[in-house]
Symmetry: C2
Subunit: 491 residues, 2 copies
């Protein structure tokens, strides 16, 4: 880790994060002040299809004059700070903390507290933006090592203080939020982001040990210097930590090849009130395995301080491409054939017709030539392939690895997709997905900022139930809207 | 499950198992009564190299006259039965058992007890053969369903009776043996082998639910009718159960492709004194995962009654072949290259020089032409390839799957092995390994029956430590022999 990075961490990363929205301050998707029908992407690129998409698909506008979006602003930082309840301070704990750690590692200012009140779920941000501030932590501890965490947990146990481990704060299940009924005990949010170091790497055995407060990009940057990566890529990648991934039982865009977080973590250290638990490194140990208790625990049993993970060499080939399927059902069936043929692309994503339309609506400005090509493709798949354009489904498929393996996997998948009458739109769509895969929370915040509720929900299903589940969920949501007289879009 | 099979199970499979050795009664490796230098394989084939191998490598004979083995017989069944301690009988439990289940499901005869005293570790059998009978269970319960197990656990809890779940009884860690200090409470061994049914199969989602007393071959036979298999193949496969594999955190010969048992089991039902625990079927559930507590538990938390497992289509291609490497180190390095190239044969086994010699010594009679071919190979690798015949290491590599994938994997592995100067001996060696992979316990019993201690120990190591560990363990064992003035063979 470079000296610069260390001092950046000393300044505490969390202060750069929005208290009422996704990501770092100053990075957002906003309306173009000069054109009410243009949305500016965080990169500065222009999105011209989104306001019309919202008007038509969400508000149910049936055409005629274009509909302008109405801003629905958040309360200000000052207003929010005034709504913070006065802190509960356990003087004995604070004093002991100053002796065992350093007083500077306990932050009691309002802004620090505000940033740690909730996670980044839609409901979390909706409350914050309205000034509906839940039970805030009374202080933020910023441990700098496993030993700091051990001391902190012991102190909290001794002084009856509540600890809430806090990684990147992108939690969506209420895992970083205090109980509203906890009015008497002091609550301390334990912000892990000063613990971002790689402690060791064994390149031959392909394992590395990290402090668990390391953020996604910092983790892969440290591994990258040795030619390795982790291969975990959740939507929250940029703003979430290794410890958070473990505590939330995380999955990522590339789990199909590299595994889910519980497959990556070989061993971890957990500071609990009963002492430190270190799970064994070898997978074939005798006796029960405690790992499953901490993976998915949301931090309730202790602070996950360090973890040893399996690491992957940075693949020499990375190839992502887009395909169009005539329908969701046909795409789903083709995916199943890929699985049956035991081919394993690093990722394989199918967007249904509704989501495909949103994906097109989110397109940023591209050179004219690409626009023309896009129109040509539409004509081709309609006229030559006979696709119903309203049912077209976008698919993104990615391959990573050695040239030898990628060529094999690609050829196998291509054969199956062609047999399913799919149309390859090329690597542009794949690269576009790669570029925008972390954007969805900004779209959600943009919607929130204009009076729309927006959220993502996810689940897992067995192959045999997939299509039925997809249909039933969409229908159930639409039935509720209909019964309640609401408009909405689900894809 | 066919009617025949059901009635066979009603007669209780366990009665066919040896009380003092591996496998079914009547199946063993024995000295040829007509030739003291010939060993008869359980199949009836003759092994001509084993007695000389034992004389030279284990007893340290330096040549001259051939050494005959001296039998070291076991005590008889009658003698062993007389050494059984009188049973502790909890009358209230036995009576309640008869009401809640059927009296016929509780076996209190001496032979049933004797069969359930210990597992099949070397130490277990050595004690049994000497008539050193450990604390035997006082009765054997044979539940026929999950509900039977739930009732049984509740009864045992109520009447303070000890239960020991017993699958196939091939345990090697003392997991089926009672504590010698448990002299007052009644101990009941719960033999699961009447619970061998497949309860459901979802071919599209590739999952199936089984009762956990199902033995390996019965499990795969039931799946095989639908074109599927589990892919779990431990050395104990023929005599061990699904529940036992889970409770022992089992690995198998094909885990490289199909995973270890904890990767195969998606969900399980466990009858515990506090009630039934059913782990969720979906891998991405919220919150901690209890599975790890039961996998590897050796049955201490309850009876694993049913499990839902992922299943694999029976592969259209199965290809196994043998290779010879000039040394263990070179073979190990080649294996590492295979891993680095992200190729995944279904199995890849490397026998060191000592084990390769034992493997040759265990060869059964083959047609003359094969013998000649074998001699030709030896000459070739010595003269043309320049191998030191004392250091040659046998490798078995297997590929399973679609023709498309197997061709790809084989070509990749072949290229790496050739670059490592290895010599392909062909599919005969692979088929031979397939045929004999369950034999080692019979060799162990044969050794025990002639005054030799023999056992297998296994471990896992990271790639970076493999060669060093291999050397250090062999040296450490030999150092002990030397210090103690003993002879032995380790490979």
């Amino acid at each position: 880790m470079s000296g610069d990075k260390d001092s950046a961490q000393q300044r505490d990363d969390y202060r750069r994060i929005k208290w009422n929205g996704w990501g770092s301050r100053g990075r957002a998707m906003v309306l173009d002040p000069n054109d009410p029908f243009v949305v500016i992407h965080p990169t500065g690129k222009k999105i011209r299809g989104l306001t019309d998409f919202i008007a038509k698909e969400i508000s149910g506008s049936t055409g005629g004059e274009r509909v302008k979006l109405t801003p629905s602003p958040s309360v200000s930082l000052e207003e929010a700070l005034q709504k913070l309840q006065p802190p509960v301070v356990n003087d004995a704990f604070v004093s002991a903390f100053g002796s065992e750690l350093r007083s500077e590692q306990l932050h009691q200012d309002g802004e620090s507290r505000l940033i740690h009140v909730v996670g980044k779920n839609y409901r979390d941000l909706w409350r914050m933006r309205r000034g509906d501030i839940a039970r805030a932590p009374d202080a933020i501890a910023v441990p700098e090592s496993h030993d700091d965490c051990v001391k902190l947990v012991a102190l909290a146990d001794k002084h009856n203080v509540v600890l809430i481990p806090f990684g990147g704060g992108t939690n969506v299940t209420g895992g970083v939020e205090a109980s509203p009924f906890e009015t008497r005990r002091m609550i301390v949010s334990v912000d892990m982001r000063r613990m971002g170091k790689m402690l060791s790497i064994d390149k031959e055995s392909r394992i590395a040990t990290f402090e668990c407060g390391v953020l996604g990009p910092d983790l892969d940057e440290q591994l990258g210097r040795h030619g390795f990566m982790l291969g975990h890529d959740p939507d929250s990648y940029i703003h979430s930590t290794l410890g958070g991934w473990i505590a939330a039982r995380g999955s990522g865009a590339y789990s199909n090849k590299y595994g889910d977080i519980e497959n990556m973590v070989l061993s971890m250290k957990v500071a609990t009130p009963k002492g430190v638990i270190e799970t064994p490194l070898a997978s074939r140990q005798c006796g029960p395995d405690m790992s499953g208790l901490f993976v998915g625990s949301e931090g309730i049993f202790g602070i996950i301080t360090e973890a040893t993970v399996k690491i992957e060499p940075v693949p020499p080939v990375r190839h992502y491409e887009g395909w169009l399927f005539p329908s969701f059902e046909e795409g789903y069936a083709a995916f199943y054939k890929v699985v049956k043929q035991d081919l394993a692309p690093v990722c394989m994503r199918l967007y249904d017709d509704d989501e495909t339309r949103m994906s097109f609506a989110l397109k940023t400005d591209a050179p004219k030539i690409q626009d023309l090509a896009g129109k040509g493709i539409k004509q081709y798949i309609k006229l030559v392939k006979g696709f119903d354009l309203d049912k077209v489904c976008l698919c993104i498929v990615g391959f990573e690895g050695t040239p030898y393996n990628v060529a094999h996997e690609r050829a196998g998948v291509t054969k199956i997709f062609h047999a399913a009458n799919a149309f390859r739109v090329g690597t542009g769509a794949g690269d576009n997905w790669q570029e925008k895969k972390y954007d969805l929370p900004y779209v959600r915040d943009f919607a929130l900022g204009h009076g729309y509720w927006a959220d993502v929900f996810e689940t897992t299903a067995f192959y045999g139930q997939g299509v039925g589940l997809w249909r039933a969920v969409k229908q159930a949501v639409r039935d509720v809207w209909k019964a309640e007289g609401k408009q909405g879009w689900i894809g």
